[in-house]
């Protein structure tokens, strides 16, 4: 009884604490840099601040913070969906080759056609969706079986990685470096014009994911059990995959393949609070917090260098997960 109560308390603390932490970090991110007071930031948000501060806060800093939160939530949720579908902690969209598909398409656009920013966004979107469709079609054999889906995902990823290797080795250093920077994922120079197009798909997909999260939990018990409980197995799986792919595609198109959040956010949130019902929203919140924290660190820690956020995400997320694993093992 006592243990149950403490688990409930932890769940509540996590569910309340994560959004608060996001909010606090977002405020810090708006104020830090050429430093502003919190009051000034609020004035700017209300539109009563001097023009230069208003522009700095609402046109430069706010879009970046909003993107970090939105994309982080999207990636965290898509990771939770895929890991649940595959019943394997390695079943994240990065491992399944969707990001790599985007990377290949962007490399082709940059190296072979010398494409600019717009072409890169289009290529990334096309790359994710195409590779997802190919993986799904190849894995379809009287239905989708998770193990087959993921092995085929890994095989396709290996093919795409080899294509990328070939393109990178053959390219000029300049093109290779452009593609390398893109592939690390970056939120530098985010503007409202870049975010607005991805906001709608991500929001819709997040709502869809929430609506599907009960079915997702039932599917984890195995196809037969889920079927017996009245879940349409293949349809639900297709819908869930679709949702996850939309989230990954939109995030990748907006900021490049920010890897690792999809893999690590569900694992971290599960260790913070082992909640069955809230697994998906908690993973999304963890993803949002992680990406925002990584972005703040990427901007502040290595001045004058501005590192791509993906590089920092990987470090912060990885070190934190290792810390959690160490604590877990000491408890036992």
């Amino acid at each position: 009884m006592n243990r149950f109560a403490s688990a409930r308390a932890r769940q509540t603390i996590t569910a309340v604490g994560l959004p608060l932490a996001c909010l606090a970090l977002a405020l810090y991110s708006l104020c830090a840099g050429s430093t502003l007071g919190i009051g000034q930031a609020f004035d700017a948000l209300r539109g009563t601040a001097p023009h230069n501060i208003y522009v700095m806060v609402t046109q430069w800093r706010l879009p970046r913070v909003a993107t970090a939160l939105l994309l982080g939530a999207g990636l965290g949720a898509s990771g939770a969906i895929f890991q649940s579908l595959m019943r394997n902690p390695l079943g994240s969209p990065d491992i399944m080759g969707f990001n790599t598909g985007a990377h290949s398409a962007v490399l082709i656009a940059i190296v072979l056609f010398g494409g600019g920013p717009t072409a890169i966004v289009g290529a990334a979107l096309a790359g994710v969706i195409l590779s997802a469709v190919v993986v799904y079609l190849l894995a379809w054999h009287n239905g989708i079986q998770p193990f087959r889906l993921i092995i085929i995902g890994i095989a396709i990823r290996a093919l795409l990685v080899s294509l990328n290797t070939w393109l990178v080795v053959g390219a000029s250093l300049e093109s290779a470096l452009t593609a390398g920077l893109w592939s690390a994922g970056s939120l530098n120079g985010m503007t409202w014009a870049k975010i607005v197009p991805v906001t709608l798909p991500i929001t819709i997909a997040l709502i869809l994911a929430l609506a599907l999260s009960r079915r997702m939990r039932l599917l984890e018990m195995g196809d037969d059990a889920a079927c017996a409980l009245g879940v349409p197995v293949e349809t639900s799986r297709l819908l869930l995959i679709l949702t996850g792919v939309i989230l990954t595609a939109a995030a990748t198109a907006a900021a490049g393949p920010i890897s690792f959040i999809a893999l690590v956010a569900p694992q971290i949130s599960r260790r913070l609070a082992s909640s069955q019902t809230l697994a998906l929203p908690l993973a999304a919140l963890t993803g949002a917090l992680l990406l925002l924290a990584a972005d703040v660190a990427a901007q502040r820690l290595f001045i004058p260098y501005q590192l791509p956020v993906g590089v920092v995400t990987v470090c912060i997320g990885g070190i934190y997960l290792i810390g959690l694993l160490l604590r877990e093992s000491r408890k036992k």
């Binding site: 902690p89 085929i152 093919l159 390398g180 990885g318 290792i322 036992k332």
Partner: protein
């Protein structure tokens, strides 16, 4: 019985592959001349090609192939995750990170100097991951080991790409190292890794019986009298030796380590005493075959890692589609 005849046949195929790798190349050299060069009695340009280009290449294909295959099979059994590849232990990332450090801060510029950095990095990363996975209780928890490897690998990868993106010249060298290559121009590099690989292979083959028990779960295995902790420790040591040496020698070529154990398992069934020898023979066949395709069709253009994926991935996809019920640990 069927398996042993098949295995013998595959050994012959491997020998054939090695011979072809010596006799076939971008420059046509008569077979007699190749034989003369190998038996050590001539000094012409052809002999130099055979001894300094084809021989190290063939040997490193053989050694790296069997090391990557075996370490992949071990990794999948120890983590009890069919998706694990040798890279999951953080070995590739550790080697890559150490190479970046070597290039950036110590001015390493040639394969020989990469070798030591890569080896040291691989060993250190594997050791760290094993420590994290084993802390508390002495026994490895498969899920924790997997996650620790992925996490540490990601951190090291991130730091390596952070450093290299800030230094374009380092990035320039790194992109070639990361592509992996069998183009090794001296026997010295091969000599460095041969003993660790032999030791790791012997250790792996010695472990196969215990691994069979372990694949039923650690509780059942210890009930059957297997010393679980010892087996896991020896397995991790073998993976570190094998994968560290292979990565140091040819760069990070990960996919075959994931794929070949699956193919071996599809051929032989779940008995580790057959899976390991089959993996040991099959992986170098694929690696040497791919290398030859890359060498002969587009000389100097296509890296072996590119061809292994081009050849291997469709095979894997076809196998998964044809055997819907197979393919579990």
């Amino acid at each position: 019985m069927r398996h042993s005849v098949g295995l013998l046949l595959m050994c012959l195929v491997l020998l054939l592959m090695m011979a072809m790798s010596l006799f076939i190349g971008a420059k046509a050299i008569p077979a007699v001349r190749v034989w003369q060069a190998l038996s050590g009695g001539c000094g012409s340009a052809d002999c130099v090609i055979v001894l300094d280009a084809r021989l190290p290449r063939t040997l490193s294909g053989l050694l790296a192939g069997l090391a990557l295959g075996l370490s992949g099979a071990l990794m999948q059994t120890l983590t009890r995750n069919p998706l694990a590849d040798p890279g999951i232990l953080g070995v590739n990332a550790g080697a890559g990170f150490a190479v970046v450090i070597g290039i950036t801060f110590f001015g390493a510029a040639a394969i020989d100097s990469y070798l030591w950095f890569a080896f040291a990095g691989a060993l250190a990363a594997a050791l760290l991951v094993a420590l994290i996975g084993a802390l508390g209780g002495g026994r490895l928890n498969p899920v924790r080991l997997t996650l620790a490897g992925v996490a540490l690998g990601a951190v090291l990868d991130g730091m390596a790409s952070g450093i290299s993106l800030l230094h374009p010249l380092v990035y320039d060298q790194l992109r070639f190292w990361q592509a992996g290559s069998l183009d090794i121009r001296s026997l010295a590099a091969v000599k460095v890794v041969i003993w660790p690989i032999v030791l790791g292979t012997a250790l792996t083959l010695w472990l196969t019986g215990a691994l069979n028990a372990l694949s039923m779960g650690s509780e059942l295995a210890s009930a059957l009298g297997t010393r679980v902790g010892l087996t896991q420790l020896a397995g991790l040591t073998a993976i570190t030796l094998l994968c560290g040496s292979a990565t140091a020698l040819v760069g990070p070529i990960a996919f075959i380590g994931l794929m070949m154990p699956h193919i071996a398992r599809w051929i032989t069934g779940p008995d580790q005493r057959w899976i390991m020898p089959w993996t040991l023979v099959l992986t170098p066949v694929l690696l040497l075959g791919s290398d030859m395709i890359g060498r002969v069709i587009v000389p100097g253009e296509l890296r072996v890692s590119v061809i292994t994926a081009l050849v291997g991935a469709p095979v894997l996809i076809a196998l998964v589609r044809r055997h819907p019920t197979l393919g579990r640990l």
